[in-house]
């Protein structure tokens, strides 16, 4: 039984047509013409309990719109959704108790009040018992290191602190499902790491299901075994992160550095490159080769190089997800 499922989900936005030129504002006001944009176009997906799924797509792909439908804020034009067995926009209250939502771009906290007050209000809204509230709050304060700014009005918090406060607010009442819309946007490396390890921990300890949108592929590499990629509202890919890598970039990258006297032999090796090697980069005493482990075993590849070139340093890399995602966004399709 999937905990989140969507079938043929569609969302159209209808806006009055904007005119330009003379009396544009007046004509826009009086117009009966409208423009329909399809933000989400026939998306079907299903997520099991305890999964962390990365939901990717270029800006304007329809990620946030999907999340808003899954969380019951928007009503879809057509299609079906169930989250924890509930249709989100029909049983709003039940659904609200089942989900935690973070919109990274805007805070759900009360701007002009201390963080603790916001969290206390969340506790009351989500009908938490006092004991449970205290215990969870203490746990979160420690995990997210919030002690020093609990009493600070939210408007005075740094972005990283605010985001931690928002995450705490979203998981305080232990929802089984967490929707995170760009939870690391604009954060520095340390703050990002803190958020990532927190998500990992909550998922491991509570089996919280997480659907995460992000533009930071570091989040994905770190957290998501599974990826869903959409563009123009349509599903491009849904599967294991490793599977995507295997399809796009089955090769490994070998970085080598030669001894000072090896520059010549490296040049000779490159000039008569064996068929299973592809040159990615060459720079004096260093070079990077791409080899496909399905064609030639890595130890054999290394043995071939080291028999002809005096190597003093060697490294093996997986191709970065970033290049793959860039290619998908640019071509707007996923290789079969």
């Amino acid at each position: 039984m999937p905990i989140i499922s969507a079938h043929h989900l569609v969302k159209d936005f209808v806006r009055p047509k904007r005119h330009s030129g003379r009396f544009a504002a007046l004509r826009t006001l009086l117009t009966s013409e409208s423009v329909t944009t399809r933000a989400v176009d026939d998306i079907t997906l299903s997520i099991d309990e305890g999964e962390i799924v990365g939901y990717l797509g270029p800006n304007g792909a329809g990620k946030s719109t999907t999340i808003k439908m899954l969380s019951g804020i928007l009503t879809p034009t057509s299609g079906e959704v169930e989250v924890c067995g509930v249709v989100p926009w029909e049983q709003r209250t039940t659904n609200a108790l089942n989900i935690g939502v973070v919109f990274g771009q805007r805070s759900q906290l009360w701007w002009d009040l201390p963080l603790t007050e916001s969290l206390a209000l969340i506790g009351k809204m989500y009908r938490m018992e006092e004991g449970k509230y205290r215990a969870n709050l203490d746990m979160l304060v420690e995990l997210l290191e919030m002690q020093s700014f609990l009493g600070t009005p939210v408007r005075q918090l740094s972005l990283g602190q605010r985001m931690r406060g928002d995450l705490a607010a979203a998981v305080l009442y232990e929802p089984p499902v967490l929707f995170l819309d760009e939870p690391t946007v604009g954060l520095d490396v340390v703050a990002k790491e803190r958020i990532r390890s927190f998500i990992e921990q909550i998922n491991a300890e509570r089996r919280t299901t997480v659907l995460l949108t992000t533009h930071d592929l570091g989040d994905v590499e770190r957290l998501c075994q599974r990826l869903i990629i959409i563009d123009h509202g349509r599903l491009l890919f849904d599967g294991a992160t490793n599977d995507l890598k295997r399809r796009y970039a089955p090769h490994r990258l070998l970085d080598i550095v030669t001894a000072p006297d090896g520059e010549g032999s490296l040049g000779a090796f490159i000039d008569a490159l064996p068929a299973d090697f592809a040159l990615e980069h060459h720079d004096g005493m260093g070079a990077t080769f791409a080899v496909n482990p399905d064609v030639i075993a890595l130890p054999d590849a290394i043995a071939i190089i080291s028999s002809r070139v005096p190597i003093i340093d060697l490294g093996v890399r997986e191709p970065a997800l970033e290049g793959i995602i860039r290619e998908i966004y640019e071509t707007r399709e996923v290789m079969a």
């Binding site: 019951g72 804020i73 928007l74 939502v101 805007r106 805070s107 002009d112 206390a120 809204m125």
Partner: protein, 268 residues
């Protein structure tokens, strides 16, 4: 929607709003200063209008100054913030978070409104002595008047909230409500009788306004307080307010059902 499990949550919302009233003390101080200046100029204007006369249309100048003074205090106490709050949340896009709460959006907003109302009561106490000096203050003449005023004032608050809510909800369609807000504010100040008491208006206009909901926001309780509406008329005034509350509540609910499907969160 069940209200009972939401009650503690709503109480917490009210408490939250109450605290926020006090987070804006300097703004409050400016508000008080502005209104004292306005009260002073109103007093000057009405004194000038009366000139040598002490009674116009059967209304004594003292009574007129009392009307203006109580009117100002009332307007300050009852000013609904829910509609402005809705507009702000729509514009900032934070309304998304309000809509994923396990408590209805309108109940949340009403709870905030009540919190702000309670938060302003102590401020009224601070303003009273100034109002007495700049304007004029005196207790309602009879118990009947006092009770009638209290009931009518509470209904006036409910009416103000119900009249302003749809104005805020227009934002669900238009996003920006600054212009509409400004227009509504000016028109309402007139048709509610806050600016000029209905008794000074031409017959046709006065009769029309008397049967519209807006006079119930301000003129109804005021006319009871200053003793213009008495006896049986008090009951009619209160009944008119009550009927409009029922009608407007239905209207607000109807609009809200449409608004929540029109929700288009700004950005992202």
């Amino acid at each position: 929607m069940t209200i009972s499990p939401s009650l503690p949550a709503l109480k917490a919302c009210t408490g939250m709003a109450l605290q926020r009233t006090w987070a804006y003390r300097s703004r409050m101080a400016l508000w008080i200063l502005r209104n004292m200046l306005m009260l002073f100029s109103m007093r000057m204007i009405w004194t000038a209008v009366y000139g040598d006369r002490t009674v116009m249309n059967g209304i004594h100048l003292d009574m007129m100054i009392l009307y203006v003074t109580i009117g100002m205090l009332q307007a300050y106490l009852l000013e609904p913030i829910a509609s402005g709050e809705i507009a702000r949340r729509i514009q900032r896009g934070t309304i998304a978070s309000d809509l994923v709460r396990p408590v209805g959006f309108l109940p949340q907003m009403l709870a905030y409104d009540i919190g702000f109302l309670i938060g302003r009561i102590p401020l009224i106490a601070i303003v009273l002595p100034f109002a007495a000096i700049v304007g004029s203050l005196q207790a309602p003449p009879t118990l009947e008047t006092a009770v009638g005023y209290a009931v009518s004032l509470i209904l006036a608050y409910v009416l103000s909230v119900l009249v302003w809510l749809p104005i805020g909800m227009i934002g669900f369609w238009t996003i920006n409500t600054t212009g509409i807000n400004f227009l509504a504010y000016s028109v309402l100040a007139f048709v509610s009788g806050q600016m000029v008491p209905l008794w000074f208006l031409p017959d046709a206009l006065r009769t029309t306004l008397r049967w519209l909901p807006f006079q119930g926001m301000s003129y109804a309780p005021l006319s009871i307080y200053v003793g213009e509406t008495t006896g049986y008329d008090i009951l009619i005034t209160i009944a008119t307010q009550a009927i409009w509350i029922v009608l407007l509540a239905a209207l607000v609910w109807w609009i809200w059902q449409r608004a929540r499907y029109a929700v288009q969160i700004q950005g992202g």
